[in-house]
Every structure is written in structure tokens, then in C-alpha cells.
Amino acid sequence: MKRHLISAADLSREDAIGVLDTAAELASVAGRPIRKLPTLRGRTVVNLFYEDSTRTRTSFEAAAKRLSADVINFSAKGSSVAKGESLKDTALTLEAMGADAIVIRHPASGAPHRLAGWVTGNVINAGDGTHEHPTQALLDAFTMRQRLASGGASGSGPAGAGLDGVRVTIVGDVLHSRVARSNVLLLSELGAEVTLVAPPTLMPYAVQTWPCDISYDLDAELGKSDVVMMLRVQHERMNAAYFPSIREYRRRYGLDTARMARLPDHAIVMHPGPMNRGVEIAAEVADSPRSTIVAQVANGVTVRMAVLYLMLGGAEETS
């Protein structure tokens, strides 16, 4: 693996499968009486969060703690950032305190990339603006392999397997979604066929160059999907009217029980969270057995343990 995990494109197919296989082994730790491994003892992981987050921050924290790393949580609120300290100065301060890895979430796309040029430790992107969220894509891929692969001794899908031929439909606010971008890059690398569905106003610029198909009609895609991933409508990032009304958006792009019934029997419904119940996903769908939303959270800890182990557990890859 590379030194930093900034983009899902930093992962080759081999790297990505390595993360999934490692995660599959680490999953058994969650079922043990003692859910702790000594592997990262004496290492320090800093969670540097400039943006609100429940799942990702707690998930990284739990992952680091299960591997016995020391965790320093930093949120921009209530820190010197409020006094005007720059990202660089904050990062150098944290590094001087002995951070071996920095997990960063930032509202500006590209912030983790800049950070990686300033610090000597490993940088892990936990979501930057509308750019990328690679660990979310890894946990989504892990969940797909777990739920869709038949066989596999530990129930985590066959070791060494990718997602070849799996048809994934990603629906909703692609424009503002870092999850969509990371998923398209990672899933296509793993051999899945990805289709993005959104109103034309919520498709990103130059989306035709991405390694996926594009559609504006959700109903046409449902029947041939193994996975439907619903994205949150990100009102907080919308500074213009991208669609006439929530009601109209829901009617054309929301996943309700009638639409879910048209999915193939084995298909699963995913959502990276947080959900807007009643907007992009109906409550009955979110709570149905097809929904993997809770499993995604549990898998998030396991996959992040795998990433931390592979990046921090051994010696630096030199030569």
C-alpha cells in the first residue's frame, strides 16, 4: 500500500483485496471476549475533524483502540482553529506531539493532499469536501462481498475475490458526494459495473470520463441491479435549486417499497448515512432485511482496523 490513503485511486486491485481479506480476518475479533489486539501499541493516531461526523470519527476511534493505538481526537470546534490557526500549523503541532498517523476530515476538497506534503506520518482521508472518502468505499466493497458472495468460510466472502460482474447502482446527489466518487473508482477497480443515477443537475462535471455508466432514470436500472446505493441529498452543500421540490425528487429518485419490490431477490440496499428518511429512502426500506445500513457501520470499524494495520503495523516500505 501507499504511504497515504487520499483517494480510492491510491489502491490497486491487489491492495484493495488485501484490505478486504485483512478485514475479513479481523472481523472475528468483534466476536471475542477480549476485543483488543496489541498490534499498534505505542503508536498514536490523531483524528483531525474539521467537519461534523458521528460514524466516521467514532469508527476510526474504535478501530485504532481495538489495535491498542493511542487516539487523540481533535475537532475544529473549541480549538485554536477558532482563533485562526491554519491547517498547516495545526498539523505540525499535532505531529510534534508524536502523531504517527493523521485521519483528516475537512470541508475543502484536497486538504488531505496538502496535509500529506507537510507531515511525515501517514495521512488517511476521512472525507474531504466533495472529493473523496476512500475508507467508506472500502467498507461498502467489504459489505457487498460479504452479502453477495456465495460461500466463503468466515461469511466474509471468499478471500482473494474481487467484485467482478457485480452491478452497482448509485443513486442521488452524486454532485456533492465524495462517497460516490470513491466508490466508482474502487468498485470499478474491483471489477464491478457501476451505474450512476441522478437528475442532470446533480451529475458532476465531466462525469462521462469516470469509469461508470450514467442514467437519469432510476426505474430503468432497478431490475438489473445487485446493489442499490442511495446517497444523501446534501442540503448543506446546496447553494442553488437543483430540483423543483423534495416531493418531486422523492417521486423520481427516492427508494420506496414499490421500487424495492422491483429489485432482484438477492439485491441489497445500501446507504452511507446519515439518512434523510422520507427523502432519498423510505423508512420501511431503510429498516427492511435487505438494507445493510447497520452492517455497514459494523464493517466500518473492521475495515478501518485493516487500513490502520496495513499502513502502521509494519515497517515503512522502503527501497
Binding site: 500500500m1 488485501g18 481479506d21 485483512t22 480476518e25 479481523l26 472475528s28 471475542r32 471476549p33 477480549i34 483488543k36 489486539l37 496489541p38 498490534t39 489495535l67 468460510a153 468466515s154 494495520y309 496495513l310 499502513m311 502502521l312 503495523g313 509494519g314 515497517a315 515503512e316 516500505e317
Partner: protein, 194 residues
């Protein structure tokens, strides 16, 4: 690897020596199975845990022999020790092996750890740590196919297939049918390949 059946001490072209033949491995494992049965009063409450990679097939073979000799069903599992190693930071992160504890668990059982070669003892130390996180066995014992000496920790094996005095610069390679296509134990110089 070598076409003809090797004899003990048989020298390969590369300078490597076959120190255990397939027959000797078979006999050693049969004796180990008998010894385990004897020391544990017929394999009562025994769980065999192989240390990946080659400890796992060895544990399976021992269990098969124990049940053939005395008709006892011995649970077999595997115990990966990668995350408990003391030398993790000396090499890039390595892939994990599979840990599988038999459904009966290990609490109150006599766990026999099974590995191919006992050398520094550091693997066994890591295995004892890993075991600690899985439960509390009544006793832990160690069975190895080859003990090559040069211990760096106060650890010894309870059951030894073969004691092989070696020099530090030498390397032992255990080949097994399940993982390598043939049964053979080879001795050679560090930095060369058989």
C-alpha cells in the same frame, strides 16, 4: 523439487540436505499422536491449534491419527499470531493468516499448539499471548515437528518429532503435502534455495 525418493542425509544438487523423509515424517507424527494421547489420558479435553501456515495441516494430521488410534474426536483449529508478533515493525505489514477456534471453545481445555519448526521461541510466545485473548485453557502444551535449537526465550516443546541440531546460518524448510505437494524436511544454508 527432487525426482527420486530422498534418503536421510541425501544431498540435493543445490547443497540442501533432506533431513526427514516422508516416511520419517509419518512415523514422527504417529509417535507424537501417541505421546499426546498418553500424556493427556486418551486425549480427554484436548484441542489442537495449528499455527499457520504449516502448523495447521500438521494439527489436522495429528487429530486424524489420534482418532484412528483411540477413536476420540479431537477438535482442531488454527491460531494466527501475526498481530501478536514482536517483530512487526521490522518488515512491511504482512497478510494475516486464518484464526479459527473450534465451536467448543478453549476454556478449561488442554490446548496443544502445533507448529512445524521450533527455533527462537518467539512464535510460541506470540501464540501464548494470542491464546490469552481467546479464553482461558486449563493447560497449554506445544508440539513441533522439528526442534532446531537456538532458543531466545524460556520456552520448550512438550512433544518433539525430531531434534535437529543446527548452526545459526542454516535454514530448515518443512514441506507438506497439503501446502507444498510433498512431505520433506530440508536443511540448507541461509540465502540459498533448494
Amino acid at each position: 523439487m527432487c525426482a527420486m525418493t530422498p534418503q536421510p542425509g541425501h544431498e540435493l544438487a543445490s547443497g540442501w540436505k533432506a533431513v526427514l523423509t516422508p516416511e520419517e515424517i509419518r512415523r514422527a507424527l504417529s509417535r507424537l499422536a501417541h505421546e499426546i494421547l498418553e500424556r493427556t489420558h486418551g486425549g480427554d479435553g484436548v484441542v489442537l491449534l495449528g499455527i499457520p501456515t504449516r502448523g495447521v495441516p500438521l494439527a489436522r494430521r495429528l487429530a486424524a491419527r489420534m482418532s484412528a488410534f483411540e477413536g476420540v474426536a479431537v477438535p482442531v483449529g488454527s491460531l494466527d499470531i501475526t498481530l501478536h508478533r514482536d517483530d512487526l515493525r521490522l518488515r512491511p505489514a504482512r497478510a494475516l493468516g486464518h484464526t479459527e477456534v473450534p465451536p467448543q471453545g478453549i476454556d478449561g481445555k488442554t490446548v496443544v499448539l502445533v507448529d512445524d519448526v521450533l527455533f527462537s521461541g518467539r512464535t510460541v510466545r506470540a501464540a501464548l499471548d494470542a491464546l490469552n485473548d481467546l479464553g482461558r485453557p486449563r493447560a497449554v502444551q506445544l508440539a513441533v515437528l522439528v526442534d532446531r535449537g537456538h532458543r531466545e526465550l524460556p520456552i520448550r516443546a512438550d512433544y518433539v518429532g525430531k531434534n535437529l541440531p543446527t548452526a545459526h546460518r542454516e535454514v530448515i524448510r518443512v514441506l507438506l503435502e497439503e501446502t507444498d505437494g510433498e512431505d520433506l524436511v530440508l536443511l540448507g544454508e541461509r540465502g540459498t534455495t533448494p
